[in-house]
Assembly symmetry: none
Homo-oligomer: 205 residues x 4
């Protein structure tokens, strides 16, 4: 009996995302999907023609839903370290919130990096998506530093692009440590890491 649910597709995507994040692509079987979606194998195949197609769809769904919002005129807002921090953390918090909202009340044992790297290694097409995402995030940071520069909040003569890139990589490295070590409470841990990293960054430059 076909259910009236129009959200079967969303149900599949969401459940699959959750499972992929928790256990990794390879470790999630259709049996798992059946169990957690409440659908039959056939129904899932009705919406996604293969596990591979499901991977891509889930990945795009995740990025779509959690893409960092770009501020329109960052240089009007970012004047000093304090406003930099505030805006950055606000952006990330928003991202995390939309992520948590996306997940609903479903419990989430995160092992995000595994999923990311698996996804990439299984599917070349996803690599490009991630490269774009990383450029996007770098651009945002550059906007922030441009603001700081306009307000003379950073030492003269520093290369804005270099600063942005350096901080971006530090943040990436920091994220790695967090995800390495922390499976639960990662939301708090990662926000604290962002704060510490930015604070440290302003100390060393």
């Amino acid at each position: 009996m076909p259910k009236i649910t129009q959200d079967t597709r969303a149900n599949i995507l969401l459940t699959t995302l959750q499972l992929f994040l928790e256990k990794g692509y390879k470790n999630v079987s259709y049996q798992d999907l059946v169990k957690h979606t409440g659908l039959s194998k056939g129904a899932i195949y009705h919406y996604f023609e293969s596990k591979d197609a499901l991977l891509i769809a889930v990945f795009e769904f995740l990025l779509e839903a959690t893409k960092e919002p770009e501020n329109e005129k960052p240089h009007e807002i970012v004047k000093d370290q304090e406003s930099f921090m505030k805006l950055f953390i606000a952006g990330k918090t928003k991202q995390i919130d939309s992520f948590k909202k996306l997940m609903g009340n479903k419990p989430l044992k995160l092992n995000r990096l595994l999923f990311f790297f698996e996804a990439i290694s299984e599917n070349q097409q996803l690599k490009q998506i991630l490269v774009e995402l990383s450029k996007h995030e770098l651009t945002i940071l550059e906007g922030y530093f441009a603001g700081l520069n306009m307000h003379h909040a950073i030492p003269k003569g520093k290369d804005i692009h270099l600063l942005a890139e350096s901080l971006y990589w530090m943040l990436q490295g920091g994220e790695m440590s967090v995800f390495f070590l922390q499976e639960d409470d990662w939301e708090d841990a990662i926000i604290k890491m962002y704060q510490k990293t930015i604070t440290d960054f302003f100390k060393i430059i």
Copy 2:
């Protein structure tokens, strides 16, 4: 027919490492191992009681063989940016060389991160090993910055630990980008990234 190889164990470890790095833990089957070692399933089980045990052994084998050598008195050697760079690159080059030597003439299509993260997610015990490793690398960097400080090669008043940690994370982030994008020629790419990152770092501080 017993093989002449006395080092059956080493053969298994090496072959497995290569396969894990290339395809990831989950994607390597005993069938693959049999094919590439020239041994039988039984023989592999004779040396390693499970695929899990093999994973740990291989991981330790890898870290053992490529651990960054700690200089005895870094502050005597590291006097300025130039000597910093030289020593750091020398250490990493040594690491990579011992890695390549380890692999012998076997071709290596790297997908290293996948293996690392898979290993970690499959096996809690490996996480601790990696944490130790990361502390070790951080300590080395701190030694370098202490040397720089002794020779007044960095601005006064900068926190040495902070500098080391910041650079460490930047390097980690940099490694990620390289491994994301580059599957072949990663040796060159990663050395260049190290050089660029260190150069940039000295520009921004």
Copy 3:
């Protein structure tokens, strides 16, 4: 959106026939049928209650459309080897033409025997149909030989029924070889085989 095709049923039959001939009953799935008819699964089930029913319908459709036409007074026409050959080949050509017309311009990679035998082994009811068909063809041949006999075109004392049956079996065996070896251009090949077989037959009797 309802298709303009009024002859949905004919569309299904034709497409299915083509697919069955090309790939065999077992290798044709509803997915294939959907793809090639442009209809939905439900629509096909609306016309044929099961794949089995579809098989029978298609089989009957095929036989109906390609049944060899019986000449009214063969003994008036068939006077000698030449007229025998002419009439026989004309009949077969007609059959093949109506078959090709039936298939329209759809390309047809023939593997006809597989389909026939599959059909029979899947469905007892079809066996009887084929037996009837074979009797029909035998009767036609007997009519031809009766004509020859009336015109003293065959050696005296030969049993007409025996001659007809013998030739019929030879032709059957010949068809088998053709279908074994030839997937494309079977129309030409089979006509040539008919000609050779009849010529040979007149040589040996």
Copy 4:
């Protein structure tokens, strides 16, 4: 626990042959094979790497075991219709007996043609094997007719090759009818058909 049976391979081949003959390649599943061999899926895959490989192996096994024996000097033996018939039937009986022996006491519901045609349509490589087989059988028949000719037991001036080919095709056609109509007792039916066909053949030439 590995059994001592050295005949696991033979067991698989025999059981599979029986099932293929009875139900056809497509209709035999590994589940069936497991059930009838008493082995596990894995064990069967240990011996044959795929269902396709199994098909070829079974096919070769069948032909090997039932190939018609070639008489050394047929023209010394075949002198007239009677000796022709005797030798031919003896050869076929031998073939059938070795086939029945091969099958052991296992009950056999024959649907042989389906299997043959399926095998061929699934696997190009098998087609060639069958062509060779058919040439072999034709050669044997030609030897017989040469014998007849030497003893002036056939009308003068008849082309020996033509006679052999014609009879061969008649026999092929005859086999088809038998297999079409008869599933049980096919051994008797086919021998009777051979006898009738040969008798008829000598009547019409």
